[in-house]
C-alpha cells in the first residue's frame, strides 16, 4: 500500500516566504547583532529555497546554479560581518546594537 503524497512547489514557496518574513521581522525586532546576522542568513536562504523550487518546478537548472553563487556571497558576507561585530563589541561588552549610537542627529 503506497501513499500518493505529493508535495508541490507551492508548499516550498510558502515555506520560503515564511522564512523570509521571519528573517526580516527578526532583523527589525532583535537587538543582538549575532541574532541579526542569523536573520540575514535566513532571508538569503529563503531566497535560495525559492530559487531551487522554481527551478525544479520549471525543470530549469538555472535556479539551482544561482544558489551556489548566493551561498558563496553569503559566506563572504558573514566573514566580514562577524569581523566588524567582533571589533565593535570589544569596546562594548553588552552585545546590543542599542549601545552603538554615537551617530545621530
Amino acid at each position: 500500500m503506497t501513499f500518493a503524497l505529493t508535495i508541490g512547489p507551492g508548499y516550498y514557496l510558502a515555506l520560503s516566504a515564511m522564512l523570509f518574513v521571519i528573517g526580516s521581522i527578526g532583523l527589525l525586532v532583535r537587538r543582538n547583532p549575532l541574532i541579526m546576522f542569523m536573520c540575514i542568513e535566513l532571508m538569503l536562504n529563503a531566497a535560495n529555497l525559492a530559487f531551487v523550487s522554481f527551478g525544479k518546478d520549471m525543470g530549469d537548472l538555472g535556479g539551482q546554479v544561482s544558489v551556489l553563487f548566493v551561498l558563496v556571497v553569503a559566506a563572504a558576507e558573514v566573514v566580514i560581518g562577524l569581523a566588524i561585530v567582533v571589533a565593535v563589541m570589544r569596546r562594548r561588552p553588552k552585545a546590543s546594537v542599542d549601545e552603538v549610537s554615537v551617530l545621530r542627529g
Partner: protein, 510 residues
Amino acid sequence: MSSFSTETIFASTITTPDIAWVALLPLLILCGASIFLLTVASIAPKDLPSSFYAVYTGLAALASLISAIPLWVRVQDNERGPFSTIAGGFSVDGFSLIITFLILVSVVLVACLASEYLINEGISGPEPFVLIMLSASGGITMAGASDLIVLFLGIEVLSIAAYVLAAMDMRRVQSQEAGMKYFILGAFASGFLLYGMALIYGATGSTSLVAIRDFLESTELTNDALLLAGISMVLIGLGFKVATVPFHFWTPDVYQGSPTPFVAFMASAVKAAGFAALIRVFYGAFASYQTDWKPIIYGLAIATLVVGSFMAIVQTDVKRLLAYSSISHAGYILVGFQSGSENGVISVSFYLITYAFMVLGSFAVVSIVGGLNGGQPTLDDFEGLSNRRPILAAVFTIFLLGQAGIPLTTGFFAKFYVIEAAIEARSYGLAISAMVTAVIAAFLYLKILVKMWMTGETESDPISNRQARANIPIRIQVGFVLLISGGFTLIFGIWPHPIVELARDALPIL
C-alpha cells in the same frame, strides 16, 4: 539516475560559453592589480609608504581605463557596435563603458584623498587601496550586468568591500559604528534584492535580462502578482544602495562616521553603480512594465527630494549635511530616471558624471577642514574660511554652487537636463517639485557660503586653535583632486557639449 553514470559524463563534452576576454580586461586588470598588491604587501618585509599604494592604485585604475578605450571605439563603430559575452551575462555597450570610466576616475581621485587621510590618521597597510579597487570592480560588473545573478554578484562585491571601508578607521568609535550600521542595513537590502530576483525568476523562467524582456514582451501574464512583487523587492534593494527615501536611513550615519575619502567613494562610484543597475534592470528587462513602475519611481523621487533637502537644512555636522544633500541629488537623478525615455538615460548619465566630480571635490575640502577635528567638521569650522584659506574657500564655493545648480557650473546643466526629461515625459508635478526643492537646497548651500565668506573668526575661538587651522597643510595629492574636480565643474559648466555628446553615445542596449 542513469544520467549521472560516469559513462555519460565522460561521453558528453561540456560546452563552456565563449568569453571575450578583451571585454573583461578593465575588470581583470583592476582585480588582478588589487590581489597582486595584497600579495606583495604581505610578503614585503617592511610596510611600504601609503603614497606608494596610492600611486599604484592610480596607475592600476588608469591602465584599466586605457584598456576600456578600444572597447568604447568598438562600441561606437557602426559596423561592430555593442556586444555581450559569457553567454549573455555581461554586456559591453556605451552605457556600461561610461559608468566604467566614471568609476575608474573616481578610484584615482579617491586614492589621492585616501593617501592623505591615512597618513594623517596614522593608518598603514595596503588594505584600503585593495578594497577600493575590489569595490570598483564590483561596480564595473554591475554596470555591464545583463543577468540578475551577475548583477547580484557585482552589487555584493561592491558592497562587502564598502562595508569594510566604512569601518576602516577602527580606532574611532564613529567609524566602527558606521561600518556596522552599513553592513546590517546593506545585508538587509541584499536579502530583499535577492528574494525579488528569485520571484522574477519564478515568474519569467530566466535570470537573463534579455530573456526576461523578450518573455514579457511576447507573453501576456494572466497573473503578474509574482512578477510585480519581485520588481518591487528589487526596487527596494537597489533603492537602498542609491539612498532613496524611504530607504535612506543608513546614509547620514554612515557618511558621518566613515573616513571622509571613502564617503567620497560611496557618494560618487557606489551611487553611479547603483543607478547603472537600476537602469539596466528597469529600462532593459522591465521596459514593457513602465506603466507599473513609473508611478512608484515618481513617488520615491518626490519623497527623496523633499526629505533630502529639508533634513539637510537642520544639520550642523558638515558630513551629515552632505549626506542629506546626496540624498536630494539621488532624488534629482530619479526625476530623470522616471521619464523612461532615451533622454532620461542621457540626463541620468550626465548627472552622475557631473555629480561625482562635485562630490569628490566637496569631500576633499571637508577632509582638509575636518583634519583637526577628527574628520568630523561642523559648520562652525567653516567660519571665516575665506580669511584663512581664500583659495580653498573659493574652490569649495565652486562645488557648493555646482551642487545648488547655479548657472556656469555643471550642476546647472545636470538639473536642467533631468527636469527637461521629466517635462518631455509629461511629469509636470515632478518637474515642479524638483524646481521647488532646488530652491530649498540652494538655501542650504548658501548657508555654508555665508559662514565661509561673511563671518570672521569667532571670539570664543582660542588663538592657538585659530593658528592651527590657518596652517593646515594641503598636500599635493589633495590639491590635484581639487584642481581636477574644480576644473571639470567650471569648464564643462560653461561648455557642457562634450559631456552631453558622451552621454548621448552611451545608451544601454541589451
